[in-house]
Symmetry: C2
Subunit: 287 residues, 2 copies
């Protein structure tokens, strides 16, 4: 089974949503009231033409906008963050020389070469889809607010590239932070995968490890720092309590708790998705 | 979300394998020892280039061979039967005029127009993949045995088109029967979908209805007529016992039993897949 970069990205989306448990997020055994596992299957199928385009197109913003437009369900967000990570990774993978590994410099180039046009498409995406972003009024984050539709003209006036937008939001957004750190956490997480576990289990466990190491920024935006930190600590406990091999049962309990409290660490799931994509080149196999 | 015919076929494969319970078959909650839900995700992703080609190519056999070559895992069969149904359906859908419904005459044309070349590719597929087909020696089925590799020359010598191969195997194979009856069961099953149920449930229930109406030919080949008939009757009981809304619990029990006995109604799952494809045009929605 030899897959193109776009196919690997699609498979990453499917493996991410299928792996269970992923406390607080949708998986193959867990749907929410308004969004289900099936929506994520549909979104993964619908995303493919854009993923394919990412192999060739120069404009990450344009491809991202296309992907968002084609994957949403009545404005509900399925893969917004995941696509924002996967699209530059696909491009970098296509441009990279090694067969097995994406060069880290290449991914830096790809995101740093984004333009003002890319930003415009990025801002336009928020008109289609309902992504929770709190107002940045009265904060130090100096970019046009994505919640204000006519801010596209301000993006143009200020000549902000998509990379610059990400730089300025990196302090509050884990996906933006990946853009500005050469996808550091995504690359690190590849080393977390344990090929001796079955595929679903090693993906779940990597999710929990990611959740335990940094506060999820989506949780932080929606529920505040204190709860984000509480979730991080709880994930740590899931992973490191005794007996160690009881992590899965403890993860299922944390899943129930987070679902009841409507806490959804979406950024961690997005980063998991990009680490699966990177892992499919060398450590993750369906065998 | 507007999908191409190839995308609809891919989504059908994903929805089929995800719907649970499907007594005896893999679903999102049920893997076997040697084959898992994840293999089916991988196979659905890997099949896409061939599905896309089916939108344009004249040769069903060639596209089918490509699909089989790209989707198998160490020769394990994932979507052999499903692809044999989906590929002509995609072609018919592309050639059909109505936006919503595949014309039944079109699908008849597509399969009846297959050539000897298509048969050759079909026979070649059995060299790649481990599909259980019992020997037809000492039976009335007068085609070259797919289990004998050098039988390709006999196919050529006898000038057998793929449609003729299917005609001659229709009496023992449910997928071949679909080819020769204008995909009758697949079209009928579209009416079984109940849009008021959730998507996974209506697909599961349609599977059980299909299983209850005809003996599964894969079970029949592997375990004999008596067991195939027993399974059919048990599926009927699942569906029609009181209380009617207890069908899902009863289906889960039948699933356990069939898995323990290693009985896998694969043909029914294949036909379910093609009926999902047809249903996606009008009654099945991810909404």
């Amino acid at each position: 089974m030899k897959l193109s970069e776009a196919q690997k990205a699609q498979l990453s989306m499917l493996l991410e949503v299928s792996s269970s448990p992923k406390p607080g997020n949708i998986d193959r055994k867990r749907s929410w009231d308004d969004l289900s596992f099936f929506h994520f299957l549909g979104s993964s199928v619908a995303a493919f033409p854009a993923l394919k385009q990412a192999e060739k197109s120069d404009s990450i913003g344009k491809v991202f906008y296309k992907a968002v437009k084609e994957t949403h369900f009545h404005g509900e967000n399925t893969h917004f963050g995941a696509l924002l990570l996967l699209i530059p990774l696909i491009k970098a993978a296509k441009e990279t020389e090694s067969e097995k590994k994406i060069e880290k410099e290449k991914i830096r180039d790809v995101v740093q070469n984004t333009t003002v046009d890319d930003s415009v498409f990025f801002y336009k995406s928020f008109n289609i889809i309902d992504v929770y972003v709190p107002s940045i009024e009265n904060t130090d984050i100096d970019i046009p607010d994505v919640n204000i539709p006519n801010n596209i003209s301000e993006v143009k006036k200020r000549n902000l590239t998509l990379y610059q937008i990400m730089e300025k939001s990196a302090c509050i957004d884990g996906v933006a932070k990946e853009w500005t750190t050469g996808f550091k956490r995504s690359f690190n997480a590849v080393d977390y995968f344990e090929p001796e576990l079955n595929l679903g289990d090693t993906i779940s466990k990597t999710y929990i490890k990611l959740l335990s190491e940094k506060r999820d920024t989506f949780v932080q935006k929606k529920h505040g720092e204190k709860i984000a930190e509480e979730v991080r600590k709880k994930a740590k406990k899931v992973l490191y309590s005794e007996p160690q091999n009881g992590w899965k049962k403890r993860a299922e309990e944390l899943d129930k708790e987070l679902i009841n409290r409507r806490i959804n660490p979406g950024t961690t799931a997005d980063i998991l998705c990009s680490s699966i994509f990177l892992g499919l080149n060398n450590v993750l196999y369906i065998s």
